[in-house]
Symmetry: C2
Subunit: 494 residues, 2 copies
Amino acid sequence: MEQLRQQLGEIEAIGSVMALLQWDQQVTLPAGAHQARQRQVETLASLLYKMQSSEELGRCLERAREIDPSTLSGMERATIREAYREYSRVIKTRESLYRRISGLEVTAQATWEQARRENRFDLMAPVISEWISIRKEEAAVVSPGMDPYDYVLDEHERGSSVQKMDRMFERIKQPLIELLAKIKQPDNDTPGVAFPMEPQRELARKIIQDMGFNGRLDDSVHPMTVPVSPPSDVRITSKFIENNPRFGILAAIHETGHALYEQGRVEEPGLIALRPLSTGMHESQSLFWERMVGLSREFWDHYWPGSGLAKHGVKTGDGFYRYLTRVMPSPVRVEADEITYPLHILIRYEIEKGLFDGSLSVTEIPSVWNAKMEEYLGVTVSNDAQGCLQASLDIHWSLGIFGYFPTYVLGAIYACQLFDAADRDLGGLVRQNIAQGMFAPLREWLRDKVHSIGRLYETPEELLQVVTGKGMDPDGFVRHLTLKYSEINLTTRD
Amino acid sequence: MEQLRQQLGEIEAIGSVMALLQWDQQVTLPAGAHQARQRQVETLASLLYKMQSSEELGRCLERAREIDPSTLSGMERATIREAYREYSRVIKTRESLYRRISGLEVTAQATWEQARRENRFDLMAPVISEWISIRKEEAAVVSPGMDPYDYVLDEHERGSSVQKMDRMFERIKQPLIELLAKIKQPDNDTPGVAFPMEPQRELARKIIQDMGFNGRLDDSVHPMTVPVSPPSDVRITSKFIENNPRFGILAAIHETGHALYEQGRVEEPGLIALRPLSTGMHESQSLFWERMVGLSREFWDHYWPGSGLAKHGVKTGDGFYRYLTRVMPSPVRVEADEITYPLHILIRYEIEKGLFDGSLSVTEIPSVWNAKMEEYLGVTVSNDAQGCLQASLDIHWSLGIFGYFPTYVLGAIYACQLFDAADRDLGGLVRQNIAQGMFAPLREWLRDKVHSIGRLYETPEELLQVVTGKGMDPDGFVRHLTLKYSEINLTTRD
């Protein structure tokens, strides 16, 4: 076990260096140094791959799997399970797929950028087709007999499947479309608050400090959390936009949610089961703080007085809360509100499913995309750059990432359930705590129930069962949104 | 040749990642993350060592050495020469010394810190003894028959030797001691200028931009230049001290001199002969800008008007020049002026030489140190923390670095020669250019003659011969200082 941890610890150390390179690239790298950075990343990636696929690691894992499990801690057993799963995947895909994947990765991002710039989906189509073919072969090699879309869903969210996702989306699709129809749209297409960047940044710094984040907040093109060496070195960024405090402040809260998960981990090099459980569970932490806490009336009742917002025409905390919770269908996912966000994801899920089961061809993506945008969100897409090429952040398909999008909705559902469970465990005082800017009880509850637990349980369903007493609950999520937005909608705006 | 460059390029890439880790550690790393950083550094260092000592590299070098030299460029031939030299050193010391060195490195820095804190040289003595024994064995293994102190001198400054250093110090020792005796000491022990940190930083930023530096200037505990991926990613730091503009501004100019050397390199991955020539030549670039340019009357005639210094009681550029060029013997090397600095180095050189030839034992260091400080500088050392343990930066001996100190003086001598040669080549207009803040001609001259030449010539002597028409010239250095400080000394201070 010591030897295994030693080897996994070295792999972890190289991974953490690559995380630092990523942070540095977005925050401090000089403009002309991208080629040199590329050489660093490629050299490390190739060393990392050698370590991850080494015979030495294989032998070490075989020996570890022969240890009597009763002599190991739960976290040690989970570490062997996770490391073996990962090693098997690497070994099984090494011969057939590694070169194909590496080659495509080199060109894909540039192709996507050109396609967006020139509004030409036809440039992207062959890349997407090749990725789907790669993922299908990967599924066949790693998990023979498994449905390929089940395989990619399960890769991102252990225990997930088409059947489960279908059932989940079925529970939320119609209710959200109906809720959306009932909500008054704001008169002004681009409601703003004349709040300059510096006070936005100051307010965000105060909030994330109150939340208990300990680390750097920098600016970058896209907000991100970089767990360089969690828990001791976790860095976040946000992006502040003049007179649009919604984006930068909510992004800072969102990233802090991710960061607290990483900072709530136990530090034990090589014990990789201490890693965050899944993509969806990670997203549940960011959305817990962004939506359940940050998008609450109590939160802004607390922060409005010291925020300086009064000087900029926002006369009450409630006024700012209403500004932040406005619902406004738009073609862009990353700017979407709580109600329309899951519908953006649903469109992507339905398209991916069709691409994998063969009922949809890649060339049909634009027309299907636009039709669904119209049907679910009432949004007319004027061109593919605004539509299926998503002008800002939906790079997933061009990088071969399928089965990932649903985790954004899973995160929102988990967040809602965890919030209710926390409120139950903390004596129903959570909203009162928020109104006082007192976040320690919530944070410690999350650390205790989620952050420090890592991958002790194999799936998010198991963890939810233990912590909340039931599995994933989309109905509760719909009830929560219906209640919240009916209430906002019924009272008068200032 | 292509294969060799590929392998050397990968080694270079890992080295550049380690440079980034070092920069990050001094500038952005959170306080609690040093253990995690240590794991990253150790993992990378061990991978790097494997690459540097791999049989594959050895085979590749053997094949490269068989290539007909006439089919190679001068820089390619120099790359093979440098890479073979480095590989031989690594291979020859691998068996006998690698573990001994690694082990000592782990404990040495902590021991030095404790020794300084508790003012106990006796704690350091065994560490220094062990390092000397290691370096002697290294010399015996790598260059059998060579004098061990010659060997370490040559490691830092190719072509250097005890004989040459003796001759050099002999030319400067008495003249500098006599010059020092003639210079009026300032009445006040701690002359300061009431210049706050922010305008210091602003002035430094303006200067380094005018000099042509393109990159980040951050704060750190000790000023440094980190060539992460030169020429495209070079970062510097300085340290600004309230009401002591001398330290922070001169340090920023000094580091920019180092940085311009790195930014003046040609970018060709794996062609390692493009690296800076030697430690002394690197120091010549920092001192060129710090002392020949920054410590000139013309420089401050130009910068004083826009500096804001007038508001803080500095009434002329000349006044600030006199403040910066004050001569004041003190026990601390890193704060020393141009006149006393070489004498600080001489003390270290004489002690190192004695330790290596056996005429001095490690336990005698404190008494010899203090006697020489008194004799050369007229400074009474009150305790070892201020003396041979050097409270701030002289960590060299505890890390096993011997033969390095003389390069500080060599750099000053080279700088002086290069300045004269530049003035000759640029039509005697250099001082006039400085008075106009016009640094491009000087910088381009240095790029052309030094920065872009790398290690094409094997030794600094050869390069000096080509560029200035003569070898190292300590007499010219003494003449320059005598003239400069007689002039300052003879005119009245304001």
